[in-house]
Symmetry: C2
Subunit: 343 residues, 2 copies
């Protein structure tokens, strides 16, 4: 029985080698461009879990393909995560990423924004190198899937940012699922798994079920991410704790809390959450946290994440896999890990 964490590490090492040794440029005779290349290598050089490339390679093997055929695509899935995090950190005003200052704080927002664009383009450029191993047709199908993934992710990101900017609170659980299924599910689970299945040349039924599996698991994954931001162990988590409250994020935890609070408590929480980031005091944060704790909004959200994972695993079990059974069980182990992880 292959160990999940071991296997994730193994894929991550292969993918990082590809990204750092082959895809990203190393040095330039022009000083300033050398700095750009260094900035492009910054997030890819920080420690990360590598969940998404693992899913891509493992889904490929489960669907009957060879893991090494999916490696370049998996590396591009990881590159996607790198460039979008650079932009995400600027958009959210985040200060910490993977235990270090966010890129825009190391240099400037302008240079970091442009670095994100440069990395974004490298992702598309690298995907073209699939041609020699997979042929033109599959290379183009993989590109089309990436196009779907970026479309969904930017839509979800827009929803979340616009809710905060427009001070919208007429939102419930279904809105959260709509947003997360775009912002997180596609690029975290559905996309990577479907890409692996394309490499393995799996049929449309497998693709459809992986979309359903990925949507559910992705939302569960995001709920756990939101929980870690509020109740996780900072040293393992890598992002600044309570950022979601400071940034005014509409997490399931918060939306559920607002549904069950008295109207006076609700007004107070909303007025705190509507403040700009730098106007929120530590008392504000503690007040919101104490209500979440007293009303067990954490437990409620944890249960919803668990339910989503059970549904996701149900879908996974209905897929007619043609590949390694070991890979199939890794996907199931990963599903549980996604909502039980502490990092």
């Amino acid at each position: 029985m292959v160990n999940l964490e071991e296997e994730m590490k193994r894929v991550k090492i292969d993918v990082d080698r590809l990204i750092l040794d082959e895809i990203l440029p190393k040095s330039s005779r022009i000083n300033e461009i050398d700095l750009l290349y260094g900035m492009m290598r910054d997030y890819p050089s920080r420690p990360a879990k590598g969940l998404r490339p693992f899913l891509c390679v493992t889904a490929c093997k489960a669907a009957g393909g060879k893991g090494e055929d999916a490696l370049l695509t998996a590396a591009c899935v990881e590159l996607f995560q790198h460039w979008i995090l650079i932009h995400d950190d600027i958009e959210d005003g985040s200060e910490l990423r993977r235990g270090q200052p966010a890129l825009h704080l190391k240099q400037s927002p302008a240079l970091a924004l442009n670095t994100g664009d440069a990395l974004h383009a490298k992702m598309w450029g690298a995907l073209l190198k699939n041609e020699s191993r997979l042929g033109q047709e599959r290379t183009l199908r993989i590109l089309a899937e990436f196009s779907r993934i970026v479309d969904a992710t930017t839509e979800g990101q827009h929803m979340e940012l616009a809710w905060v900017q427009h001070r919208r609170w007429d939102l419930g659980e279904p809105d959260y699922y709509e947003m997360c299924s775009r912002k997180t599910s596609w690029y975290t689970v559905a996309g990577p798994c479907r890409l692996g299945a394309i490499v393995a040349d799996a049929n449309l039924d497998v693709q459809d079920k992986l979309k359903e599996f990925g949507t559910k698991l992705g939302v569960g994954f995001q709920i756990q991410d939101d929980l870690l931001n509020l109740v996780g162990d900072q040293s393992r988590y890598g992002k600044a704790k309570f950022d979601d409250i400071l940034e005014g994020k509409r997490t399931l935890i918060l939306l559920h809390l607002l549904e069950i609070l008295s109207s006076s408590e609700r007004s107070k929480v909303v007025s705190i959450m509507n403040k700009d980031r730098d106007q929120k005091t530590s008392e504000d944060v503690s007040y919101v946290l104490s209500l979440m704790k007293r009303n067990d909004a954490f437990g409620y959200s944890r249960n919803r994440a668990q339910e989503l994972v059970e549904e996701a695993i149900g879908v996974l079990r209905r897929i007619e896999w043609k590949g390694e059974s070991e890979a199939v069980s890794l996907l199931e182990s990963f599903s549980r890990f996604a909502v039980e992880r502490q990092w």
Copy 2:
């Protein structure tokens, strides 16, 4: 004899129809996503010259291809311009674009940044639709050329931004050419022309010469753009006048001026240019402008642009064209227009 401006308008109409009616999404049942779609359609709906799609279609015809075969690629060249301008305006803190407030001022920098990413992805997604008309092989070659174009553009953009941020003044004309040939030439001239030639299936020699032509003309084009920012007619130009001085841009005009100034004047200009945008007074701007005028830095730069265009046209004439002679002469007319235009 086809009129240049007429032909540019004709291509622009076709390309805009493709972008607005077929490539960009129109509406969503989700309010917030509807806003995103509106933001994606904002810059594409503002008046623009459409130089780049014109070059793509015209180079295709000159190289023996059919103009309509290049239309989708030309639309994607225009989409490139749209998304990179959104990001560029954020990076430079620009306030005006095509006569209206920059997108990040209409909504927020966060939403505008994400909109740029969404448009960027639409560019790659739309390029995949070339397959039905051009086949897999040419579709992939076109994608590879786009990858080169974005690489060069982000490198040039980084050089320019980093020079300002790091207060670098140990720069001369060759540095300006290095920067411009990346920032402007590839996406404005070399890229669009080479893409047209790929659609026409032109040989490598044509591609190489178009790279040389485009590099030279692109720098000439940028010099004229810099001149228009300082001495152009604001109502026709569409961007905020003197922005280049406010943003501390190292234009050829400025770098040449610094070379010929006395050391005390030079120090004063450098200390003005080193100020942050909002610290620069109108007297500062007038002082720099008066020195440029007195030392004829405008005339010097205009001459350099003229020389570059003559060299570019020399390259153009050495190409063994296989297509319409009318298209070839349009490319030559365009070259002169690029450095003589007042808008």
